[in-house]
């Protein structure tokens, strides 16, 4: 890279705090004209805070932002747009019910005699989109176009309005491989015009395919900026995960190798643009760890198995019998359980008591005709509060008043109460303190010893190593490797996550 290129955007010591959290801590970031600069980091690393500070959604607490040498402080998104910073989000923020042309020129359409000049708007829209290699009927409703076209329209609007800095926030998450190639061609055309592009993504392949440089954030801090040309995948993954591969491997709890027939057996199970088809066998008493970067398809795999999303290909057998799981209810009826990643929004019912939260899944399974009596649910709750050591003064306490670890245990109790055969835990240790971590891990081991089949999704690789018998590694929404026996260690897992994939095999 030629360092003499002018700095388009320069962030110095950017700081943003929220009550109790430092989301950005003195981050430096540079964008040259005509470059694609990838912004990387795991969940909560501070990527979106940085973007939002830049686009005026948040006001920074400290640091400086210079655009072409001039200090700026965008007050809102419109202000940022006027200054020249446009953003395209993963979920296209345009209007599906208006036409393509109306979306492109909303609020600035040409007028004649005070009325909208539809013909000229359409001609202008066609001219604009031809520059993006898009030849479509601009009178079509945007919602009738494919997501890729919507994405391109959003980019065209952002560039037309702003024209200096384009921020692409996970633009490829909803696109298939061919569409990604088209999008990249467009981005290259824009950089050739001198526009600087900030590219936020989870897909490392795409970073290596498109970006000139990459900046990695972790826990709100800058880890470093690398020229892509001189880096390899492993360096970047290490920066993102923040651990050296020499770290001593945690002692693994050894278990008898089970040779029972699998509880759950998937063959070629998948869903278009969601998870690539995969094979998976899970035996009783076995814990399968699922590893991969954020957005690699971990949670998607769980949602497919639990019927939250329906597979559109492949077969699933439970206890040797072929089944089709069409809803979470059907999955629960088969003896499946699922503790979701975000327990605040998808798991606990904050205002209900610990007892009610624990009894919920069992009640749902029994149906509303056979209500669970108060005494019965009380006995159930007391049993699990004791068994899992849930620290609460009282089973009737609203669950939101409990600590994260105890909420997690109550959620686990909810599913254990239904006596499942197969339990999926998505990030069971996220957001809970260190002591509770160890307890959850011990609990997972105990459940396996009791003969439960477990699938545990986690970003904490040391943890996975501690309890998993086998580890499935995902990348770009496909199951790329399964590690067994001695291969279950931090080194091999990180290497598998970072390994080169076929270029362009995204989505």
């Amino acid at each position: 890279m030629d360092n003499a290129e002018p700095l388009l955007l320069s962030l110095r010591g950017l700081t943003k705090t929220f009550p109790g959290v430092t989301a950005l801590d003195g981050v430096d970031f540079d964008l040259r004209a005509g470059e694609v600069h990838a912004l990387l980091g795991e969940n909560g690393a501070g990527k979106s805070t940085l973007i939002k500070t830049l686009t005026g959604v948040y006001v920074r607490d400290g640091g400086s932002v210079h655009l072409q040498g001039t200090p700026i402080a965008p007050a809102d998104t419109a202000d940022a747009q006027r200054l020249g910073i446009g953003t395209v989000y993963q979920e296209v923020n345009l209007l599906p019910n208006l036409s393509v042309a109306e979306n492109l020129f909303l609020g600035r359409e040409p007028r004649r005699f005070g009325l909208r000049d539809a013909r000229r708007t359409e001609a202008m829209a066609r001219d604009l989109l031809v520059g993006y290699g898009l030849d479509i009927d601009v009178r079509r409703a945007l919602g009738d176009c494919s997501v890729a076209v919507q994405q391109i329209v959003a980019i065209a609007r952002a560039v037309d309005l702003s024209g200096k800095v384009l921020i692409l926030d996970e633009p490829t998450a909803s696109l298939d491989a061919g569409e990604v190639v088209t999008l990249f061609a467009i981005v290259r055309r824009l950089t050739a015009r001198g526009i600087g592009v900030i590219f936020v993504t989870h897909f490392l392949d795409q970073v290596f395919a498109l970006a000139d440089r990459a900046t990695v954030l972790r826990n709100g801090r800058l880890v470093g900026t690398r020229e892509i040309a001189g880096s390899n995948r492993l360096d970047i993954v290490k920066m993102m995960l923040g651990r050296e591969l020499e770290t001593e491997t945690m002692k693994r709890h050894r278990r008898q190798v089970v040779d029972a027939p699998p509880v759950v057996s998937a063959r070629g199970l998948g869903r278009r643009a969601y998870v690539q088809p995969f094979d998976l066998d899970i035996r009783p008493g076995e814990a399968i760890g699922v590893a991969g970067l954020l957005g690699s398809g971990r949670t998607e795999t769980a949602k497919l198995l639990f019927g939250i999303k329906q597979a559109d290909r492949g077969a699933l057998a439970v206890g040797g019998k072929p089944v089709r799981i069409s809803s979470p209810r059907a999955a629960a009826a088969l003896g499946f359980g699922f503790c979701p990643e975000d327990r605040k929004t998808e798991g606990i019912v904050g205002d209900l008591s610990v007892r009610e939260n624990i009894a919920l899944a069992l009640q749902a399974r029994r149906g509303w005709l056979r209500p669970l009596g108060r005494t019965e649910s009380r006995a159930l709750a007391d049993r699990f509060i004791r068994a899992l050591d849930i620290r609460t003064s009282d089973a009737e306490k609203p669950i939101r008043l409990l600590s994260g670890g105890n909420q997690q245990k109550a959620l686990l109790a909810r599913w254990l109460a239904t006596e499942p055969r197969f339990l999926i835990l998505d990030e069971p240790t996220r957001g809970i303190d260190v002591g509770a971590h160890a307890e959850i891990i011990r609990l997972i081991e105990r459940l396996c010893d009791d003969g439960l089949a477990l699938m545990v999704i986690s970003s904490e690789i040391e943890e996975i190593v501690a309890y998993a018998d086998r580890v499935v590694v995902l990348r770009d929404r496909s199951h790329v490797r399964t590690l067994e026996g001695e291969a279950v260690n931090v080194n091999d897992i990180v290497r598998a996550i970072a390994a080169e994939a076929v270029p362009g095999a995204a989505a």
Binding site: L95, G107, A173, A273
Partner: protein
């Protein structure tokens, strides 16, 4: 033809088929006189429905329409009886109803209160004010008023287009221009499509919301004037539930209750379908007039079902492309 204007075409087909069936039984229904009367008899509904179309397109609702129509009639009757010139009274009442709508719009926007609640309050408020002015039915009797009533245009083959029919047609045409040819119209659709996106794209939300409810207020006032001309009286209990008839007309006319999709022309056809059912019942002579409500209710169910099916289909086709993360 896309799936988006399918409801409008469905409405149009229903109207044409219904008229053909009626005409097969009563050939007289093909005359321009019946057509002109159809418009005259439903003029107040049609005018109010134009305003309601904008409100529903933006994703809102206006329950005050019927009360504002009654208020307008009572206000005209009371002030004309008190000696105010009818033209001045008309202008004054239109200013009042427009301002009333604007205030409701401002409350909806600035207090972040659902339109349903604000306009429900507006409905009770306007109806209450009617009773405050008078509880009697007051006839409107003034030379200017009679002059307004006598205005009409002859149409070939014997029909007569009255002033109020003219007002309805004009209101519909203005509504069409406003919805499809002005920047304001695009903003209304944008608001109904996705409020957050519209705001990010620079749509002036506050101004547009206030303008939408002011427009609905103004057109309710105009509908009240039409209703007063039609009945030549002002009565506090008049036009109860008309807001629901207008909502029905808008929905039957192919506008999505969730906002963002629909046309003013569709609403016109929706009003005409309701009128046609009434006309058929009058021609038949043996049916109870309540059959109108039953038929409208049935049609509403059918159209809401149609909308759900279309929305579901559109959602499915998009779902294939958007994975959740």
């Amino acid at each position: 033809m896309t799936s988006r204007n399918l409801p409008f075409f469905a409405t149009l087909v229903v109207f044409v088929v219904a008229w053909a069936l009626c005409a097969a039984q009563f050939p007289a229904m093909l005359s321009t006189r019946v057509a002109a009367n159809l418009i005259t008899d439903n003029a107040y509904l049609g005018v109010a429905a134009v305003g309601m179309t904008f409100v529903i397109l933006s994703g809102g609702i206006d329950l005050s329409v019927g009360s504002v129509i009654a208020f307008t009639g009572v206000f005209l009757a009371v002030t004309v009886r008190a000696g105010l010139d009818p033209i001045a009274a008309i202008l004054l009442v239109l200013v009042i109803t427009t301002a009333f709508g604007a205030v409701m719009g401002a409350m909806i926007h600035y207090l972040e209160t659902p339109a349903f609640i604000v306009t429900l309050a507006g409905m009770f408020f306007a109806r209450g004010v009617c009773f405050l002015m008078t509880t009697d039915s007051i006839p409107i009797d003034h030379p200017t008023w009679d002059a307004l009533l006598s205005v009409s245009w002859k149409i070939p083959t014997g029909g007569r287009l009255t002033l109020i029919a003219g007002i309805m047609i004009a209101a519909t045409l203005v509504g069409i221009v406003l919805a499809h040819l002005t920047r304001f119209g695009t903003y209304v659709y944008a608001l109904g499509g996705n409020r957050t996106s519209a705001e990010l794209m620079g749509v002036p939300i506050a101004r547009t919301t206030i303008a939408i409810y002011a427009l609905s207020g103004a057109l309710s006032g105009l509908a009240g004037l039409v209703f007063a001309l039609y009945t030549s009286a002002g009565y506090s209990l008049a036009a109860t539930g008309v807001e629901l008839d207008t909502i029905a007309a808008v929905v039957i006319g192919g506008t999505l209750l969730t906002g963002g999709v629909g046309t003013v022309a569709g609403t016109f056809v929706g009003v005409m379908i309701q009128g046609l059912i009434q006309t058929y019942i009058i021609f038949d002579g043996t049916l109870s007039s309540w059959w109108t409500k039953i038929a409208v209710g049935g049609l509403l169910f059918v159209f809401i079902l149609l909308q759900r099916v279309l929305v579901h289909l559109a959602g499915r086709s998009r779902d294939r492309l958007v994975p959740a993360t």
